[in-house]
Amino acid sequence: MVSKRAPATVKKTAAKKKTTKKKAVPIFSKEQDLAAYRLMLGIRRFEEKAGQMYGMGLIGGFCHLYIGQEAVVVGVQTAVKEGDQVITGYRDHGHMLACDMDPKAVMAELTGREGGLSKGKGGSMHMFSREKNFFGGHGIVGAQVSLGTGLAFSNHYRGNDNVAFIYFGDGAANQGQVYESFNMAELWELPAVYVIENNQYAMGTAISRASAQTDLSKRGVSFNIPGEQVDGMDVCAVSDAAKRAAEWCRAGKGPFILEMNTYRYRGHSMSDPAKYRARDEVNKMREEHDPIEQVKARLLKSKAIDEAGLKEIDAEIRAMVTDAANFAQESREPNPSELWTDITEEVQP
């Protein structure tokens, strides 16, 4: 692989300086706001249902909910073009819904049924879609960063202008392979948008207790990768930053890091009572920064929709979630013979 840049010069220094000035974020049009509202609310209601079904024993093992972080994936998705790839870790339900994967198949995977995206063999953390270019769904913290850099590599290798969107959390940001990947991505100018979903806690460890540098947008500095901090609770800000980062990549300038400051309302997983943070902290976030409420207020204020219209949307979403939940319970458990399939692919002679 040949780097296009002369090895001894760093010509990007000026262009790559972190943007510190608070620029005005372009506000969504009414149509964009409505679309974002639907999608974010859909994710939230889906996740609430998943939490409820977990409590009923219908979903087993680990279940990491995305509630509170909806604006990140919904905003980033506005920058995704046909052929771009998306990959994330194990808090992945929201990403799959945002990638337009079938909610019924996602929920049926959570219940471990044959109608699930991975035929019930993957579970909450392992779902994929070739059709939607969603590459998982990975349970080893940080692994998706190297894998995602490989997706970006494949775009570069094929010479197309697609971008890989690689999501990981503030916890994964401390893994060694993240920096191995950053180095190669910048060295080979790979089209990778690294989206760090900083929800402030790696499981129960607050970022200030785990990270020597808590400004995660600076984590690419020693590799000359530009980075930016974004209000991850504001879907407009997320969208704007993601689009600029994607353009940077599509222009052949290499990777870009976006630190999305966000917050998860629920515990790390269903078994986490979240004793490491004050209830007030969570409530304050919900009341003052909720990503869905922000859009809702804007829609009402601009009279793009009225309360009756919102109720209609709410009813549609509840129907979608109910359908998914029903399907996930009605779908059968995988046939026992499935135990022995999909291990290796038969070699065609």
């Binding site: 991975s118 063999k121 349970g139 490989g150 997706l151 191995e180 999909d342 291990i343 290796t344």
Partner: protein
């Protein structure tokens, strides 16, 4: 006193080389650091620098001489005031030369060349096929080059694979033919590039990842197992990860504990992987081509000591062998000896010694460790009723342990003696030459194991 310049070893496994060129002639003055000769092995050509200073009194080996043994005197440097005429015959006679190199360590690492006369004919090779003699190193390179010519999606990635031509020169010439887009030098970043390549494979590219040695693949093993091997299953069959992880595995020579581990059984345990460990050049070529074409992740375990060994390879257009089939290297009726990779060096040497005693051993080369061809082993055991398994890895939970378990489950009634394992010793690899020899299996140990199962 005059000083003898000895043929240098360019690597721990080098035994001989070609003195390609002299840069000095008799009567020249040399200073420390001057380049005095080019030394060539099958792997590389290297410049040889003078350490001692003085006047070249005599060149003992003419340039262009092949097969010059390591430590053989090649030139004489005169001390101040000495006259060349006084040293005309120094170290030049054959007897003296032999004496110089016949230290026990050097002799001990000389591995007997691969037997050809005893080989059972390979059913994969059509009658009348021309055979050419090439090294395992060349066979591996040819396999990659041939596949890369036919499929644009194949690329090679790893440390020093491009401009350096591979740390062990396996990727020699690939950069020149395929360019830097498809022959990718990486930073020293095993975890990162194994993950990157696995991710690229998910999109349909077919990476060949070279680990400089499999010792360093421990940094990357999470991606080999958790990402590549499990991808297909946990996606319900949606995702494929067609990738080859290859490189030298197992002990080389005198490189100590952290560079001398055999990982065969580690990878052979993992569902979702295929694991190949060839011995001969023909198998190396045919199986690497199959591995590259395979839609599954394949761990391809090579051996540094075998890289330089020459074997007969069928001169056919597209030599591909099926993964998962063992081969019978030598027919016999008294005992079955199963091994793979460098272990076969001990097994075949032992079989030759046993034949002299009238014990006919059947020697099976597993070639693939996953899937494991137990059928070939059991068919042989049903004939010989005795089994010895030879491997360089540690004895606990090794390939031999697995074979012993399967054979007693499936052919217990055919066994006339306990199954014996000849393995590496259960210790980290020591550096000292004598201790290293003790840590590795030997043909003598294989012979002893056969004696114990044949009650002779």
């Amino acid at each position: 006193m005059s000083i003898q310049i000895l043929m240098p070893a360019l690597s721990p496994t080098m035994e001989e080389g070609t003195l390609a060129k002299w840069y000095v002639k008799e009567g020249d003055e040399v200073r420390s650091g001057d380049i005095i000769a080019d030394i060539e092995t099958d792997k590389a050509t290297m410049e040889f620098e003078a350490v001692d200073e003085g006047v070249v009194g005599q060149l003992l080996v003419p340039e262009g001489t092949e097969g010059v043994l390591v430590n053989q005197p090649i030139a004489v440097i005169l001390a101040d005031g000495e006259d060349a005429s006084a040293h005309v015959n120094v170290a030049a006679t054959p007897s003296e030369t032999v004496e110089t190199v016949s230290n026990p360590e050097t002799v001990a690492v000389v591995v007997p060349s691969a037997p050809s006369a005893n080989l059972v004919s390979d059913p994969n090779i059509p009658d009348g096929t021309t055979m050419i003699s090439i090294t395992v190193r060349e066979a591996l390179r040819d396999a990659m080059a041939e596949e890369m010519r036919t499929d644009e999606n194949i690329f090679v990635m790893g440390e020093e694979v491009a401009e350096y031509h591979g740390a062990y020169k396996v990727t020699q010439g690939l950069l020149e033919e395929f360019g830097p887009r498809r022959v990718v030098d990486t930073p020293i970043t095993e975890h990162g590039f194994a993950g990157l390549a696995s991710g690229a494979a998910l999109t349909g590219l077919k990476p060949i990842v070279e680990f400089m040695t499999f010792n360093f693949a421990m940094q990357a093993i999470d991606h080999i197992i958790n990402s590549a091997a499990k991808m297909r299953y946990m996606s319900g069959g949606q995702m494929s990860c067609p990738i080859v992880f290859r490189g030298p595995n197992g002990p080389a020579s005198r490189v100590g504990a952290q560079h001398s581990q055999d990982y065969s059984s580690w990878y052979a345990q993992i569902p979702g992987l295929k694991v190949v460990a060839p011995y001969s050049a023909a198998d190396a070529k045919g199986l690497l081509k199959a591995a590259i074409r395979d839609p599954n992740p394949v761990v391809f375990l090579e051996n540094e000591i075998l890289y330089g060994k020459s074997f007969e390879v069928p001169d056919v257009d597209d030599w591909v062998l099926p993964i998962g089939k063992a081969s019978v290297l030598r027919g016999g009726t008294d005992v079955t000896i199963v091994s793979f990779s460098q272990g076969l060096t001990y097994a075949l040497e032992a079989a030759s010694k046993l034949a002299e005693e009238g014990i006919e051993a059947e020697v099976i080369d597993l070639r693939s460790l996953r899937p494991l061809d137990t059928e070939t082993i059991i068919t042989s055991v049903m004939k010989t009723n005795r089994l010895v398994v030879v491997e360089e890895t540690w004895p606990i939970c090794g390939i031999a342990s697995e074979i012993a378990a399967q054979v007693q489950e499936k052919a217990f009634d055919y066994l006339d003696a306990p199954i014996m394992r000849v393995s590496g010793k259960d210790v980290p690899m020591p550096y000292a030459a004598n201790l290293e020899k003790l840590a590795l299996p030997t043909a003598t140990e294989v012979v002893a194991a056969v004696h114990s199962v044949t009650y002779r």
